[in-house]
């Protein structure tokens, strides 16, 4: 049964601080919430997130987690309760997806403005309409400007580790912002991978008790969330949030250093894959990057100097690390698994802006739209994108709008379904 994970698993022979398990992405983030000793879990079901809250509710009901689990009547209420509970001083965990994230969207900005650090797992799923279940990143990227930190996971291990890191960074007094950990629906949430499950005592050491700032107490009345009707005040508080988010870059690096010491896994804000001698770099995030790496392997075998840069921390945006990785490269292919209708991908302009003022900036930054609604991205599609970028570079030309990756066999399939829909 989903969610039932035996606590008594074989110990890893190499070390005494972890346990090896086969876990889905959903199970891994539930374990992370448990190991983080989350004490308040407001929840609301939505596919493909639901497994997470089923597991957590079961653990709470069995007394295996000392927490309050409450099923709310909507994501808007869920996020409100999550935010006020974090502001009151509880360590809060919650999860949602897609339409749910958008239903509660108003509260994302409020929670961030309350400076209430909590961790929200978004199980990515493309947005209606048309309604679907498979992932892309329009849901999580819609929250881009809210003030939530954003961690984007490729693997089940990262999903677990990022929840722990997210608490550590979010609750730091230099940050005090909530965090989203994004895992792709189905592709990561329901994929079982081998995971090093940390020991509770090590997690406790990495993640000390949450010490809230100005919580709500009888002895010290506070007024929270109140209007600031004088415009300079609004600018002041908003920019403070921005600076706090920028602080999170170094707080993350510090936390990652401690994390590596305790758990022997190292995380930079970005992952460089075969980048050293690469001429062309594919930029991706989240689980489809695994497919991108396979494509890099294949193209390397064909003698093409291709690498991949994966964004782990999307907010705050790790501009410096991205610059370090991409300066001097010939071509950059930004694979956006999202679409800002009427513009193109959301991430590509951020990459371009980061590189613009460098003298050794790449000759071509090719915006690519791929993998919307869970559409697979084949090796041939990656090859095509790289070829287009390299040809533009040789022609000293720029791209003419985003390149949509869409195969002929898919076009034929769509065609046949359109015929059925039109009764033909």
């Amino acid at each position: 049964m989903h969610g039932r994970v035996s606590e008594k698993s074989d110990k890893n022979g190499e070390g005494d601080h972890m346990v090896l398990k086969m876990l889905t992405g959903s199970q891994a983030v539930a374990w992370a919430a448990r190991l983080a000793r989350a004490e308040y879990i407001p929840a609301y079901p939505i596919t493909p997130q639901t497994e997470i809250i089923e597991i957590l509710s079961e653990w709470v009901r069995k007394g295996e987690m000392e927490a309050i689990f409450v099923q709310m009547e909507s994501e808007h209420s869920l996020l409100t309760a999550a935010g006020t509970a974090a502001a009151t001083g509880a360590r809060v965990f919650t999860a949602t997806s897609s339409q749910g994230l958008l239903y509660g969207f108003e509260m994302l900005y409020s929670i961030a403005g309350w400076r209430a650090p909590l961790v929200l797992v978004n199980v990515a799923r493309a947005l209606a309409a048309p309604i679907t279940l498979e992932p892309d990143h329009n849901d999580v990227l819609a929250a881009r400007d809210s003030g939530f930190l954003q961690f984007h996971a490729e693997s089940v291990q990262e999903a677990l580790d990022f929840v722990l890191l997210a608490y550590r960074v979010a609750e730091d007094n230099r940050v005090l912002l909530p965090a989203i950990v994004n895992i792709d629906g189905f592709h990561l949430s329901f994929t079982r991978e081998r995971v090093d499950l940390p020991e509770q005592s090590t997690v406790d050491e990495f993640l000390p008790e949450y010490k809230p700032v100005n919580p709500i107490r009888a002895s010290e009345p506070v007024a929270k969330g109140i209007p600031v009707l004088i415009p300079p005040l609004y600018s002041f508080f908003k920019y403070q949030m921005h600076m706090a988010s920028r602080n999170a870059l170094n707080v993350f690096r510090e936390a990652a250093k401690d994390f590596e010491k305790m758990f022997s896994r190292s995380y930079a804000t970005v992952e460089e894959y075969m980048l050293d001698d690469a001429d062309t770099v594919i930029v991706m995030s989240n689980s489809f990057a695994a497919v991108g790496k396979q494509a890099v392997n294949a193209m390397r075998e064909e003698g093409r100097k291709v690498g991949l840069l994966r964004i782990r921390l999307f907010r705050p945006f790790p501009t410096d690390d991205i610059v370090k990785s991409l300066r001097g490269k010939k071509c950059v292919v930004v694979v956006d698994q999202n679409i800002s209708i009427g513009k193109g991908g959301i991430i590509c302009p951020e990459i371009a802006e980061a590189l613009y003022h460098l003298e050794d900036r790449p000759k071509v930054i090719l915006p690519v739209i791929a993998g919307l609604g869970g559409k697979s991205i084949s090796l041939e599609e990656f090859r095509h994108a790289v070829r287009v970028a390299e040809r533009l570079a040789s022609l000293k030309a720029g791209p003419d709008g985003p390149l949509l990756l869409f195969r002929e066999d898919e076009a034929m399939l769509v065609d046949s379904l359109l015929k059925i829909a039109s009764g033909g």
Binding site: H76, G89, S219
Partner: protein, 309 residues
């Protein structure tokens, strides 16, 4: 209500939790209700607010309250109360918080947030048995945005979105939702209507509610000088007229069992209440709209015929 410390106005507690100096309007019925309600509630309170007039009570860097305040959003103050209540509970249970730091959690919203955009959130919190107070200050429209109709605006009232015209001579044609009954259908421990004109009745109800764990819900009629078109000095008088005409029944329901706490011995005609307010002026000028006034009177009479029988 056999044992109560409130018998006359002299018993109103002297301690103030809402001090002078708020930006709310002169004669605001809600402000008066909050002040009196808080006296009966006592200290150690966190108010959880949804967008509305009273949101402006606390604007940075000031608050007129000696208790805590949390503005959430227009539609989800009850969910905000859930988060605070649950967080306090788990922190106390885990020994991280001294029980002396505990707070009474009180939702305060206007009628629009209570009956329209926030009804789902309130229903959820009541259904879950959340241990909280809900004080709805009902001025029968969206006052803070300029007095547009809410689903608690009464039939025949003129608002910024139900202006009387030759096509709609009655103004608002929709009936006032029965929020008391909507709340009561959830069978919470305590639901009551209150009025700033009947202070002892109000204090006794809060006193009684304090003995229950779970949702304790209060619907207060709050005259609104700017929206109703009355003088600030007339607010309490209007609230009294609403009770004396039978338009605003004072009642409570304990686990769903309804008791009227004040039955007017001789109800005054609703016209006495309507004709002194600008929002109903179109029912009297240029020609008297007998049909609408009679309909309002009929609805009140029907209500009380069931009570008195």
């Amino acid at each position: 209500m056999s044992i109560t410390k409130y018998r006359t106005l002299k018993d109103v507690p002297k301690e103030e939790f809402l001090v002078a100096g708020t930006p709310l309007c002169a004669g605001c019925g809600a402000l008066l209700v909050i002040r009196l309600f808080h006296k009966a509630l006592g200290g150690n309170v966190v108010w959880v607010n949804a967008a509305g007039c009273v949101t402006l009570m606390a604007t940075f860097p000031y608050t007129p309250l000696r208790s805590s305040w949390f503005y959430t959003a227009m539609s989800s103050a009850p969910a905000g109360a859930q988060g605070i209540r649950d967080a306090l509970d788990i922190l106390i249970k885990k020994g991280k918080l001294d029980p002396a730091e505990n707070l009474k959690v009180v939702v305060i919203t206007g009628d629009g947030a209570a009956s329209d955009i926030g009804l789902q959130s309130a229903s959820g919190a009541i259904h879950r048995g959340l241990d909280f107070f809900y004080l709805c200050v009902d001025n029968e429209a969206y006052g803070n945005t300029g007095f547009q109709a809410s689903s608690l605006s009464p039939i025949g009232s003129g608002t910024a979105t139900t202006k009387p015209t030759h096509l709609y001579p009655a103004g608002n044609v929709l009936p006032k939702k029965d929020l008391f009954e909507i709340w009561r259908s959830h069978r919470p421990p305590y639901v009551a209507t209150i009025s700033p004109s009947h202070v002892v009745d109000m204090l006794r109800k809060v006193e009684k509610a304090l003995s229950f764990k779970g949702p304790k819900l209060f619907l207060a009629l709050c005259p609104c000088p700017t929206g109703w078109g009355i003088e600030p000095s007339e607010s309490v008088q209007l609230a009294r007229l609403a009770v004396e005409t039978g338009i605003w029944p004072l009642k409570e329901a304990v686990y769903g069992e309804v008791t009227h706490t004040h039955i007017p011995s001789k109800r005054r005609p609703v016209e006495d209440y309507l004709k002194v307010q600008r929002r109903f002026a179109h029912l009297f000028k240029p020609i008297k709209n007998e049909a609408v006034i009679a309909e309002i009177q009929k609805q009140v009479d029907e209500y009380w015929s069931k009570v008195e029988r």
